[in-house]
């Protein structure tokens, strides 16, 4: 009983948050003082007739009071009409959904990398309390957050693509999701949109390896910031948990260290990491915009960046709403995981 009620409560709250976001986004589109809502629809350099403008005004119901416009706006959103993007030459929602798998694949790999490396490193750092490890952890975490993500990506490209290539060593590709030649030679049938998954399903090894190689650099770049944060938090949390009384009792039972860490300590220590998972995703999505631009990765981030260059505010604003929705969904999943891991939360 407690579990379901908890989930429903969170769902209601997050729904309200989304509504708020839609209001902010709407305000940006129609309500900004000094900004003409029609400006976004006019491609620079392309003449547009008065009739077209009037028709547009009517369609957007620009003459109605703002609250009324908002209601129409939200109904449109719920119907799937998020506007039309000049940049993608597609309706916004379609354009975003079409490129979403690429971004998700990238984000998932980044999360796998950062948690897969960060959690064990944090645990090790907590267990070895010597000076050298402490310093190393501090260095990693501070460097991680000080690094401009886009610069890291470029440097990595420089080193792993250019310099390695120059030296004749096997290098990592610098752009796109899959090698052009490979794509031509063994075309992939899209099932999920995730090249790694689809190629496995189809048994297409060439595309599989190529896709993985292309994922490495961008995913690693994206993972760096959250990696530093995860190591830091995991270490602090683990230290805190290991000081607890129940660990002393577990030790007094004669349980081996391995079991104490995994069964008793980890479940308690992992919750702060889960909390940051929510915020980390936000940083990841923001970072994706930059990383996708650096590596020419055809995801929603790069689309948004192109929209900026194109003054396509409909797209950019739609992107914002889309990202907010994704974050809300992820936060919901995190909340559910919370309740699974820590039973006290359900009550």
């Amino acid at each position: 009983m407690g579990f379901v009620a908890y989930v429903l409560k969170r769902l209601a709250y997050l729904g309200l948050v989304l509504l708020g976001v839609s209001a902010v986004v709407f305000f940006l589109l129609r309500g900004m003082p000094g900004v003409d809502p029609l400006a976004a629809y006019i491609a620079p350099g392309l003449p547009i007739s008065q009739d077209a403008l009037t028709a547009l005004r009517r369609e957007l119901r620009l003459d109605e009071p703002l609250p009324v416009q908002y209601v129409y706006y939200v109904t449109n959103l719920l119907r799937g009409d998020w506007g039309f993007s000049r940049t993608a030459a597609q309706p916004v929602l379609e354009a975003l959904l079409g490129r979403l798998p690429a971004t998700i694949e990238l984000a998932v790999f980044a999360v796998v990398l950062s948690t897969g490396l960060g959690v064990p490193l944090g645990i090790i750092a907590a267990l070895r309390r010597d000076r050298a490890t402490d310093v190393a952890v501090r260095v990693i975490s501070i460097t991680g957050i000080s690094f401009p993500v886009f610069w890291l990506g470029i440097i990595l490209q420089l080193v792993f693509f250019y310099y390695l290539g120059q030296l004749g060593l096997p290098s990592l590709p610098s752009r796109g999701r899959v090698g052009d030649l490979v794509a031509l030679q063994s075309p992939l049938k899209a099932v999920t949109g995730f090249y790694v998954v689809d190629s496995l399903i189809a048994g297409n090894l060439a595309v599989f390896t190529s896709a993985l190689r292309h994922l490495l650099l961008p995913a690693f770049t994206l993972s760096l910031i959250s990696l530093a944060a995860i190591v830091r938090i995991m270490r602090a949390s683990m230290l805190e948990v290991l000081r607890q009384d129940y660990i002393l009792l577990a030790r007094s039972k004669g349980l081996p260290l391995r079991i104490i860490i995994v069964r008793h300590a980890l479940r308690n220590a992992i919750t702060p990491v889960l909390t940051t998972a929510g915020t980390t995703l936000g940083i990841l999505l923001g970072g994706a915009v930059v990383v996708e631009t650096v590596f020419s990765w055809p995801g929603i981030g790069r689309l948004a960046a192109q929209g900026i260059l194109n003054n396509d505010s409909i797209l950019v604003v739609g992107f914002t709403l889309f990202v907010a929705t994704m974050m809300v969904l992820v936060n919901l999943v995190v909340d559910v995981l919370y309740a699974v891991v820590d039973p006290r939360v359900r009550y």
Partner: protein, 344 residues
């Protein structure tokens, strides 16, 4: 060692010394602590907070905190020297020989694991505690797990937890303090240890629950002949449960005797003051007899006998020389200069 009708010693602590690292220096926290507990006996270890009772107890299964180190003496459990053991060997010791029950069950139970899981893991760790399988039957992981769970429920029943099947599936925060403490006691008994150490186990509970736990312990003592090191600051509990008593003050044992002798004729001034401090009602007044002063800090002890600043019968000798523990009667030892001439 064991003469005639005496039972063998389960625990023998001799001249134990422990230092604590405080503020960058090592200070002596325990000095020449000696205890003996025989099989089936309950030894009450009494003293105010800070007297070193918990530290002594923690040394036995090797669970001293990181800033403590043993600097002398010996601890023998069932005749085996404990201080020289490596960590894996200590683990075996903790699994099968010594069980610890702590003061505050709420913080000592893992909040994210069910009660049943926390007790059955003991059996999963040591399958030898389970009932042996039938001839030729190789138990699978699943069946061992089920057996462990069932065994855990059995022990929950032993400690008089009502409806143990349901309780086992619950989380510690869903239980009352008294039930939590019973669960911890069950976890201690499950290992069938040679020695159970109970450190202030009723202090965090209210009086009625305290009485229940004490009666449980009393019954367990009768039914399974439990050997118990009972740490408390409450003389009433000692009177109820203990066979022998050891009184600690500022890191050393000042008097040890069987419970009757201590209550009837305590010798050490501190022990006498402790007994006198139990509030009595005379006529229509309640008489509180507090001991003036307070226990010295570990880092700055007085010279000579540590009790001398508060002692009503202090001699000049006491300020300079530490008294050694001497026998003043059968099984009755005191560390006080007042009794030195009478010692044999």
């Amino acid at each position: 060692m064991a003469s005639g009708g005496e039972r063998p010693a389960v625990l023998e602590v001799r001249d134990l010394g422990v230092e604590l690292g405080i503020g960058g220096k090592w200070v002596q926290a325990l000095r020449d602590v000696s205890l003996t507990i025989r099989g089936g006996e309950v030894l009450g270890l009494v003293g105010e907070s800070g007297s070193g009772k918990s530290l002594t107890a923690l040394s036995i299964p090797g669970l001293l905190p990181g800033n403590a180190r043993v600097v002398g003496g010996s601890i023998r459990l069932m005749g085996e020297d404990v201080l020289g053991l490596s960590e894996p060997q200590l683990n075996r010791l903790r699994t099968r020989s010594v069980a610890f029950i702590f003061q505050n069950p709420t913080t000592f139970l893992n909040p994210v694991l069910t009660v049943g899981a926390q007790i059955s893991e003991i059996f999963e760790l040591s399958p030898e505690l389970l009932d042996p399988p039938g001839a030729g039957v190789r138990p699978s992981r699943r069946s061992r797990r089920r057996q462990a769970w069932a065994k855990g429920i059995e022990y929950l029943r032993v400690v008089r937890i009502p409806d143990p099947e349901r309780i086992a599936r619950q989380y510690p925060f869903e239980l009352s303090g008294g039930m939590q403490q019973r669960a911890v006691i069950a976890m201690a008994l499950a290992r069938k240890p040679h020695l159970v150490i109970a450190d202030e186990i009723t202090t965090a509970l209210d009086v009625t629950v305290q009485a229940q736990i004490l009666s449980l312990l009393s019954e367990l003592r009768r039914s399974i002949g439990m050997t118990l090191l009972l740490i408390t600051h409450d003389m009433g509990i000692v009177a109820q449960l203990a066979d022998r008593v050891a009184v600690m003050y500022s890191g050393t044992v000042v008097e040890s005797a069987d419970v009757r002798s201590l209550f009837r004729e305590a010798r050490h001034p501190y022990a006498r003051a402790l007994l006198a401090a139990v509030p009595t009602i005379r006529g229509d007044r309640t008489i509180f007899q507090a001991i003036p002063g307070s226990m010295p800090a570990v880092s700055d002890p007085p010279a000579g006998c540590r009790f001398h600043p508060r002692c009503p019968r202090v001699l000049p000798h006491c300020l300079a020389v530490r008294p050694l523990s001497l026998l003043v009667g059968p099984g009755h030892a005191v560390a006080c200069h007042l009794y030195e001439e009478r010692a044999e």
